[in-house]
C-alpha cells in the first residue's frame, strides 16, 4: 500500500523537519542527511525517532545509488503554467 501524494507532500523528518526519500517498494522513508530510515507499516509512516534505524555506510550508498537508476516520481508542479505562454519568457 503506497502513500498518496497529499500525504507525501506534508511529511517531514521529525527531527530536522527536512524532506525524506520514499522507497515505496521497501516500505520505508529515508532521511539522507541523518541517514535514518523510518518504516511504513500498513500504509502508515512511523515517524518516531525511537523507532528509526540508523543505516551504515554500505546501506546509505545502496540507497543513494538506487536514486541514480530509479524513476523519480512525485506530485509535480501543483499549478502548471499555461503551456502556450511565450510572452513572459
Amino acid at each position: 500500500m503506497s502513500l498518496d501524494a497529499f500525504l507525501l507532500s506534508i511529511l517531514v523528518d521529525p527531527q530536522d523537519k527536512g524532506p525524506l526519500w520514499y522507497f515505496a517498494d521497501e516500505e520505508m522513508l529515508y532521511n539522507p542527511r541523518s541517514r535514518r530510515r523510518y518504516a511504513v507499516r500498513d500504509g502508515i509512516p512511523v515517524l518516531l525517532l525511537a523507532e528509526a534505524v540508523e543505516v551504515d555506510d554500505a546501506e546509505a550508498a545502496r540507497l543513494t545509488a538506487r536514486l541514480s537508476s530509479a524513476v523519480v516520481t512525485g506530485t509535480g508542479p501543483e499549478e502548471p503554467a499555461q503551456p502556450g505562454e511565450t510572452c513572459d519568457r
Partner: protein, 467 residues
C-alpha cells in the same frame, strides 16, 4: 521501481512551463542550483545517454555563482560540463547544436534583477518543457536537494577556451549575403543585457554603422528593464533614432534571444510584421517551403507566405509546440507575435539577432526606409493582447464559441478559440495559472477593431455573469 520525495518542495514553485525562474536567494540559491544541475544531468542521461552538457549564464549578478553551482551539481552525477561562461540564450542553443549536447542557460530573461533561472535544451537545441522533461528535472533536483549536507563543491570545469562569440557571429552572418549590404546606421539598445556582447560581435563583420545603447553588461539594469515588449522601455531607443537620424533601431531583451525592430520614425514593428518580412526573404531563398506562424499572428502573415509561394502552417502559441511542428513539417522558418523567430538552419531554435540581420538585408535590398518597407505587410488593425479576469475561463470560452457558431463564424479550437468572419477575427485563450482570458482581435481598420473588441468583451462579461 520508483522513489518519491516527501516533505517540503522549495523548488516546485520556480519550475514554470518552459523554464525555471525564481527570486535569488529566497527561491533559488546555490544549493538549489546545484540540485537542479544534478537533476538535469540525470534527466539528460536517461533521455539520451548524455555524458556531457554545455552550461552558460547571462550577466545577472548571481549568474556566475549559480552557474558554477549548477555545473558542480551536474559533475556530481558524473557528467562532463562544457562551461561557456557568459553567453546569450541563442548562443547556448547554437553551442548545443554544434556539440550535439544538452544545454542549460542560467538566465531569467527580462525579469527584474532579483531573479534568476534556467532554460534547458536537449542535444541539437531540442526543447525541454513541462511535457518534455522539466518535471523529471524537478523531481531529480528535489531528491538531490533532500540529500545535500553541508556546503557544495566548486566545479571542476574551467571556462571553455573556444571562441564561441566569434563562431556564433559567423553563423548569424551566414544568414545574409554581405555583398548586398549598404552602410545603414543602426542603433541597438541591448538594455545592459547579453546583446552588449553579441551585437558588436555580429556587426563587426557587417558594413553597418552601429550605435550601441546601454551595451555595458550590468545585471542591475540601471537604465531600464530589459523587456522590449513594454513601450516605456523603447523610449530611449526611439529618442536616439530620431536624434541621430538612424535608419533602424534594434531592442533586445536581457538574454538577447528576442529582438524588436523600430523604424527610422521611431515606430516599433510588431512581431507579425517582422515575421512577414523574414518569411518573404526566407521564401525567396527557399522557394515553396513551409513557414509556421502562431494563431495570434496577423492574417497578413499567411497571406504573405502564400503570395511568396510558400506553405503557411498555423500553430499553437509557444516554444515547444513551434519546435515540434518545425521538426514535423521541415519548416524553414517560424515566427511568433511575441518576438520569437525560429530557423531550421539554426537547429530549429529561435534567435532574435538572426531575424534582425535578415530584416536589415531586406532593407538594404529594397533601398527604401523601413517605414515604407513595412507598409505592404501591415494590412489590418489589431487590438494587441487584452487580458480580462473571469471566473471559469473554459465555460466562458465555450459560451462565446456557441454564440459565434450560430452567427456564421468559422470556429476553430487549435489554441483556445479562434473565430474568423473573413473581414475580422479574434482569438480568446485562457491562462492556466490565473483566471485570465487573453483576447486578440484583428479587423480591417482601427474603428471596426475597437467595435469588435467591445462586442467580444460584452459577450465575455455576459458569459462570466451567467456562470
Amino acid at each position: 521501481m520508483s522513489v518519491a520525495v516527501a516533505g517540503p518542495a522549495p523548488l516546485r514553485t520556480i519550475f514554470k512551463a518552459y523554464d525555471v525562474r525564481g527570486l535569488v536567494p529566497d527561491e533559488l540559491d546555490e544549493r538549489g542550483s546545484f540540485a537542479i544541475g544534478a537533476g538535469f544531468a540525470r534527466f539528460a542521461r536517461a533521455a539520451e545517454a548524455a555524458r556531457r552538457i554545455v552550461v552558460a549564464h547571462d550577466m545577472r549578478i548571481s549568474g556566475a555563482d549559480l552557474a558554477a553551482a549548477f555545473a558542480a551539481g551536474a559533475e556530481s552525477e558524473r557528467t562532463e560540463v562544457v562551461f561557456i561562461g557568459l553567453a546569450s540564450t541563442d548562443l547556448l542553443y547554437y553551442a548545443s547544436g554544434v556539440l550535439g549536447a544538452p544545454g542549460a542557460m542560467l538566465t531569467a530573461s527580462h525579469n527584474p534583477p532579483e531573479y534568476n533561472g534556467m532554460k534547458f535544451c536537449l542535444a541539437g537545441a531540442r526543447p525541454v518543457g513541462e511535457e518534455t522533461g522539466l518535471g523529471e528535472v524537478l523531481r531529480g533536483a528535489e531528491v538531490t536537494l533532500a540529500g545535500l549536507r553541508g556546503g557544495i563543491p566548486a566545479p571542476r570545469a574551467q571556462r571553455d577556451g573556444r571562441d564561441w562569440f566569434g563562431e556564433f557571429a559567423d553563423h548569424v552572418r551566414s544568414f545574409v549575403d554581405i555583398s548586398s549590404l549598404v552602410p545603414l546606421r543602426v542603433v541597438a539598445d541591448t538594455a545592459n543585457g547579453m546583446g552588449g556582447l553579441v551585437v558588436p560581435a555580429v556587426f563587426a563583420g557587417l558594413p553597418f554603422h552601429l550605435d550601441l545603447l546601454y551595451g555595458e553588461l550590468d545585471g542591475t539594469f540601471p537604465h531600464h528593464p530589459a523587456n522590449p515588449l513594454e513601450p516605456e522601455n523603447l523610449k530611449d531607443l526611439r529618442a536616439r533614432i530620431l536624434a541621430t537620424g538612424a535608419d533602424v533601431g534594434l531592442a533586445f531583451d536581457g538574454d538577447a534571444d528576442r529582438a524588436f525592430l523600430v523604424d527610422e520614425l521611431g515606430e516599433p514593428l510588431s512581431g507579425s510584421t517582422t515575421t512577414a518580412i523574414v518569411a518573404q526573404v526566407m521564401l525567396a531563398d527557399h522557394p515553396g517551403e513551409t513557414v509556421l506562424h502562431n494563431v495570434i499572428c496577423s492574417k497578413a502573415v499567411p497571406e504573405v507566405i502564400a503570395e511568396c509561394g510558400g506553405v503557411a502552417v498555423r500553430t499553437r502559441v509557444g516554444h515547444s509546440f513551434i519546435k515540434a511542428r518545425m521538426a514535423e513539417t521541415g519548416a524553414v522558418f517560424a515566427g511568433e507575435h511575441s518576438g520569437h523567430y525560429y530557423f531550421r538552419d539554426n537547429f530549429g531554435a529561435d534567435s532574435g539577432i538572426i531575424a534582425a540581420v535578415i530584416v536589415l538585408e531586406a532593407l538594404c535590398r529594397a533601398k527604401v526606409p523601413l517605414s515604407q518597407l513595412r507598409r505592404p505587410f501591415e494590412r489590418y488593425s489589431d487590438s494587441g493582447e487584452l487580458n480580462s479576469r473571469v471566473g471559469d475561463t473554459s465555460a466562458v470560452i465555450d459560451a462565446v464559441a456557441r454564440h459565434y457558431a450560430s452567427h456564421g463564424g468559422a470556429v476553430d479550437r487549435l489554441d483556445g478559440l479562434t473565430v474568423d468572419f473573413g473581414d475580422w477575427w479574434f482569438n480568446l485563450r485562457s491562462s492556466n495559472t490565473e483566471p485570465f482570458l487573453r483576447l486578440n482581435v484583428e479587423a480591417a481598420d482601427a474603428r471596426s477593431c475597437a467595435a469588435r473588441v467591445d462586442e467580444v468583451r460584452r459577450l465575455v462579461r455576459q458569459a462570466d455573469g451567467a456562470g
